[in-house]
């Protein structure tokens, strides 16, 4: 890994990270703030106004009465797919394809650093920044819960929830990163980088609509992460984390492979 390049990445992309950290933290904080320990009656009432199909699609079908379950269904059920996805698409494009397309990547390669070293640095930055995002989210969630509802948050489960979501986001990020390494133009890199996660998202949403569409979920990566199942103890967290880690590893190696062999544009 190249330290100066890593520092440059931090400098270039901190604002982007801050925006997403702020957005998601505020959202999480507000969700915890509106939690009513005496029952989720108001929330359920509100949901009952909306058509059941829509509520199901958004993952708000079952709302757990405990704080951890409440957070899991409202925050780690729907939003956790959208915001980090956009972050991954933008960041992955900025780390490789944008510089390659503009031509400034040449000045990196004309230093005594191999392509592999440079791409590994970029990939590590992507993974590290996602880790930072979820660390902050964990701390915000923990802090808010302790502030307003001391002792009610199941910290262990909340940690698992974050860990699972973090690895899932890293996997999505690696998909985008792979396409960013594969293509020489930002257009193609953005198109495919966005197509895959949005496709996963749509499949996941459709699968929740009815019994007949449930099979679609099998093709979606997002289906592997189910916040409520983790809270209920139905999901095997080791399996989820292990699965995502393998995905991340394979995609990272593939990204390095295609980048180290390709012809860079003139």
């Amino acid at each position: 890994m190249s330290i100066p390049l890593f520092l440059k990445n931090i400098k270039n992309n901190t604002l982007l990270l801050l925006v997403f950290v702020a957005l998601m933290s505020i959202y999480l904080a507000v969700i915890i703030y509106i939690y009513d320990p005496s029952g989720v009656g108001a929330m359920v009432d509100m949901m009952s106004i909306l058509p059941a199909v829509l509520v199901n699609a958004m993952g708000f079908g079952t709302i757990d009465s405990g704080l951890t379950g409440f957070i899991a269904s409202l925050f780690y059920g729907f939003l956790i797919y959208l915001f980090p996805m956009v972050y991954c698409i933008i960041l992955a494009n900025r780390l490789v394809a944008k510089w390659v397309y503009e031509g400034s990547f040449t000045s990196l390669l004309c230093t005594p650093n191999s392509r592999i070293k440079i791409i590994v640095t970029q990939g590590i930055y992507l993974l590290a920044s996602i880790a930072v995002l979820f660390t902050v989210l964990f701390l915000v969630g923990y802090g808010m819960s302790e502030q307003f509802f001391p002792g009610m948050l199941d910290v262990k489960v909340f940690l698992k929830l974050n860990l699972g979501a973090c690895l899932m986001t890293m996997t999505i990020g690696m998909f985008c990163f792979f396409f960013s390494c594969l293509f020489n133009s930002t257009k193609l890199a953005l198109f495919f980088g966005a197509l895959i996660p949005i496709g996963f998202f749509i499949l996941n949403t459709l699968s929740k609509l009815s019994e007949r569409t449930a099979f679609l979920g099998k093709f979606s990566l997002y289906n592997a992460f189910d916040g409520l199942a983790i809270v209920n103890g139905q999901a095997n967290i080791t399996l989820i984390i292990g699965g995502f880690a393998i995905f991340i590893g394979v995609l990272f190696v593939a990204a390095i492979g295609v980048f180290s062999l390709k012809r860079l544009p003139v």
Binding site: S104, T106, S107, L109, L264, V266
Partner: protein, 343 residues
């Protein structure tokens, strides 16, 4: 030392570079010339490890240009044709960044860098995005040279520079040459080749059509001089030594001499009273036109073989035509000389 052996890199059947063979020895400046789109930049980007050659091997100091690119870059400076830097960085920040990327941390010796900045008058305040193209090029030159590399690869380094900076860069190339550096200089301008290079390679449509040292190149070209004599000169003597001439008036002449016989012309003229002696500036086009027009031997052979196979009877007339064409392609000057002589 840069070495290319049978390097082929195809974009399509006609675009790319084909079977390139040449060496640039240590302490030598190699001029790499050719029309636009001939494949100069492709060759250079291949040498920089940015493109992978389809066939053949390209090495710098014995290291493969693609697989060992990072090791090569330690002792190499590269000025690209189109300079693209990190626009949002400040100049000092960029120079520090590249220095660190080269593995040099902390305040080491920056004297060379400072002297280069001074020499090329690079504005170090402000952001790169606000700089003109010429300034960016100068910054790229400083970046390429600040680690005192053993090999220099310069892709049209003078384009976009003002004449003063061009001249400074050429001086620098000469200094580096004297220090034993290996230089590959791609250019469009003949003055640069004449001033700095030891050898020239002419590239056309991806094929190297010429690879010769600058002395033989000079010998091939015909130099023209505008001369004004005080008294009618001894034309017999001039003719006897094989020089052509064109008479404008009683005392004004244009003399033609092969590039390698200028000294003889001087001796002949030393017996005359010469008032004015001006050399006619020849552009790159005039001198290189005949080289650019050279058929690519490889393709020619193929075509001829095809002709023989399909229409053996028509082959002869075609070859004659070609010869005639070649005769026509000779420089106008020599025709003029002949005409004058006939008259």
């Amino acid at each position: 030392m840069i070495e290319l052996k049978d390097v082929t890199l195809k974009y399509s059947s006609t675009k790319g570079i084909f079977n390139l063979n040449f060496n640039v020895e240590k302490g030598e400046v190699f001029g790499y010339v050719g029309p636009n789109d001939a494949g100069k930049t492709t060759t250079i980007r291949m040498l920089m490890g940015l493109l992978r050659a389809g066939r053949g091997s390209a090495t710098i100091d014995g290291l493969n240009c693609f697989s060992r690119a990072s090791a090569i870059q330690k002792h190499l400076g590269y000025v690209p044709e189109d300079v693209v830097l990190f626009e949002n960085m400040r100049v000092k920040e960029y120079l520090n960044f590249i220095t660190q990327m080269r593995g040099i941390f902390g305040q080491k010796d920056t004297r060379l860098r400072e002297s280069l900045i001074e020499r090329f008058e690079v504005e170090t305040r402000g952001k790169i995005e606000n700089m003109s193209n010429g300034m960016k090029k100068r910054l790229a030159i400083v970046t390429a040279l600040m680690h005192d590399p053993q090999t220099l690869v310069l892709d049209e380094p003078t384009s976009g520079l003002d004449p003063l900076m061009q001249s400074r860069l050429l001086d620098l190339i000469l200094e580096e040459k004297r220090r034993g550096k290996t230089v590959l200089l791609s250019t469009h301008r003949f003055e640069e080749v004449e001033r700095t290079c030891d050898r020239v390679g002419v590239l056309k449509e991806g094929h190297l059509v010429e690879n010769m040292d600058i002395v033989s190149l000079r010998a091939e070209e015909t130099k023209a001089y505008l001369v004004k004599f005080a008294a009618p000169p001894n034309l017999e003597q001039i003719k006897k030594y094989g020089f052509g001439y064109q008479q404008f008036s009683q005392s004004d002449y244009e003399l033609f001499s092969p590039g390698d016989r200028i000294d003889v012309l001087m001796k002949v003229l030393s017996h005359e009273k010469v008032l004015v002696f001006n050399s006619k500036n020849q552009s790159l086009e005039e001198i290189f036109q005949q080289h650019y027009q050279k058929e690519i031997k490889h393709q020619e052979i193929k075509k001829e073989v095809k002709n023989i196979e399909s229409k053996p009877q028509e082959e002869k007339p075609k070859l004659f035509q070609k010869k005639e064409m070649k005769n026509k392609a000779l420089p106008d000057q020599e025709e003029k000389v002949k005409e004058v002589k006939k008259a």
